[in-house]
């Protein structure tokens, strides 16, 4: 696939993630819209371009690992796993309903393709550290990718993990920061200062890249750079994003961290997503 066709495909899949988030939120009655929309391009590139996977073998020991440490964006990940064939898409039709495998945060014991359960912020990067150590102990060459939120960086455990990853030179570990600038109560920089994120990771000994997290060419380019890296440092991709990206009423509005569209608004939001073009 040439570059342009690759990007077209990723644009389409990011739209799919947003539309499915809309559909599943409607089943649940509410959803983590904006923190999923900020990560849609990142998830699309990871699952449709970067990760070494075999959906028919979810336990393949040499698969790349992905930990969604910001587990509240699982509503955008489930449709991707269904689309890739980990399970039947119809299994999502009772999303969050009594007895469903699919809750707001992902459960690895119930869902094929989830490499680790998440939900409590601050844990995921440590889990990834362990997965990368596991690769080293067992002589495997998979990479481990962990997506964290920017508000999550206030959790002290994140920095324990950051420290240990560089101490053990875990070059197979890739941390992706969805830098959407908003927590639940307001801007991260008002709640608890996150910046300078790049300098902080750099000071801890990580290989740092900072990109526009909605620019599909920039995201694939950053991963290309990691793929060809000879550094023994762990990698962090700080992706500057817009919380709620793609829906005007949600963009940059803290009230859509968990939101609930009125029934009459779904069609308009869907149309807005389909007409918008995020590249």
């Amino acid at each position: 696939m040439n570059q342009s066709a690759t990007i077209d495909r990723l644009v389409d899949r990011a739209l799919f993630i947003r539309l499915e988030t809309l559909r599943l939120s409607r089943i649940a009655g509410a959803g983590h819209y904006s923190g999923t929309f900020s990560a849609a391009e990142l998830l699309a590139v990871l699952y449709y371009h970067q990760l070494r996977l075999d959906p028919l073998r979810p336990d393949w020991p040499d698969r790349d690992r992905f930990v969604l440490s910001k587990g509240h964006a699982a509503i955008g990940l489930y449709p991707v796993l269904a689309d890739l064939g980990y399970f039947e898409p119809s299994e999502l039709d009772d999303y969050t309903r009594l007895g469903s495998a699919f809750g707001d945060h992902p459960d690895m014991r119930k869902i094929r393709g989830i490499d680790f359960s998440s939900g409590s912020l601050g844990h995921g990067l440590s889990i990834g550290v362990g997965m990368a150590m596991g690769a080293r102990v067992q002589g495997r060459d998979y990479r481990t990718y962990v997506m964290v939120g920017d508000g999550e960086l206030a959790e002290g455990q994140v920095w324990e993990a950051v420290m240990s990853a560089s101490h053990y030179r875990l070059e197979s570990l890739v941390c992706i920061v969805d830098r959407n600038r908003l927590g639940i109560d307001g801007p991260t920089e008002e709640i608890m200062t996150a910046e300078p994120i790049d300098e902080r990771f750099g000071a801890f000994g990580w290989d740092v890249q900072r990109i526009n997290g909605h620019d599909l060419g920039a995201i694939t380019g950053a991963f290309d750079r990691i793929n060809s890296s000879t550094s023994d440092r762990p990698h962090v991709l700080i992706a500057d994003t817009i919380k709620g990206k793609g829906v005007a009423r949600m963009e940059g509005d803290v009230h859509w961290h968990v939101g609930n569209l009125n029934a009459e608004d779904y069609a308009a939001v869907e149309q807005e997503l389909r007409e918008g073009t995020i590249r």
């Binding site: 020991p61 690992r65 930990v67 459960d107 690895m108 014991r109 490499d115 680790f116 359960s117 939900g119 409590s120 601050g122 844990h123 440590s126 889990i127 990834g128 550290v129 362990g130 997965m131 990368a132 150590m133 596991g134 690769a135 102990v137 067992q138 495997r140 002290g156 455990q157 324990e160 993990a161 420290m163 240990s164 101490h167 053990y168």
Partner: protein
Amino acid sequence: MSSRSTHEGQDQSEVFRGVATAAKADRETGKGIARASVPAFVAGEELANLADSDERVVVLTADLASANRLNDFSSRHPHRFFNLGIAEKNMISAAAGMASTGLIPFVGTFASFASLLGYEQIRTDCAYPGMSVRILAHHSGMSLGYYGSSHHALEDLAAMRAVADLTVACAVDGNQLRAMLRASLDLPGALYLRLGRGRDPEVYSEVPADFSFGRAVKLQEGSDVTIIATGSEVHPALGAAEILQSQGLSVRVLDMHTIKPLDQEAILAAAAETKAIVTVEEHSVIGGLGGAVAEVLADHSTGVAFLRHGVHDEYVLIGPPVSLYQHYRLDAQGIAAVVTKFLS
């Protein structure tokens, strides 16, 4: 007790007669403490032995490899050992990540930090996803003596017992710990293993070949009262039984090494066959062994005379461990006095 085959056909009480005799000899000579059987200190060596033939074994600690002697492991398997520094939360979560790749991580740190600082990581990253992480929570209870309450773990059994899909056990001595570590390789899910401070006198003269998580050991038969003890309190419980017997009482002693899953059968048998039950633990009487046994007795409406002995909802005094055990009546004489008073 060198192999399972020597046990076959023997009555359990007969098997452990030798055990109790050995423990008695230790108490009389005072040599128990000097013997090589020390829980926290054999883990590194035993795990190194296990790792020789099992590639899944890895070990992690938080700047305590010399305190818990996990450096006996790191010297033999340096590439399967990870010191994560003083960062217990990251260590436990990283162990869970390692377990997800097929390894069996053994994680050693002080029980106070493992259980309280690492509680959410044990629950959410180890037990909930079913990860085969083994927490070696050493220096439990008040065994760090005058280090004070920051370093005491008197709530850990209560906390751990409430976590679903988590096995919770307490090692009595080095030989039982070796048996537990071996058995843990085939144990599904996560394990919280509570250890003493590495100077625990021997109760089991050899590695018990028939150890099984969830099955209590009847160390001594008796009909007047049953003392149910766990971990560090099993040895003094045997001493207390000896004192009580000299007063004419018939005392059953159960080593309830596994707090979860609890051996209900052994508890209900004690309730039916002996006149009273006293639980003894180096832990708060709230929610630990005593709480667990009380729940079983109440659920089955047994009505047996019952007393929980342990620490009664307080932060304990500063003092050397031996002095603390005397003060809180957790040594043999103290337990005997508590039981005598209860029965009168």
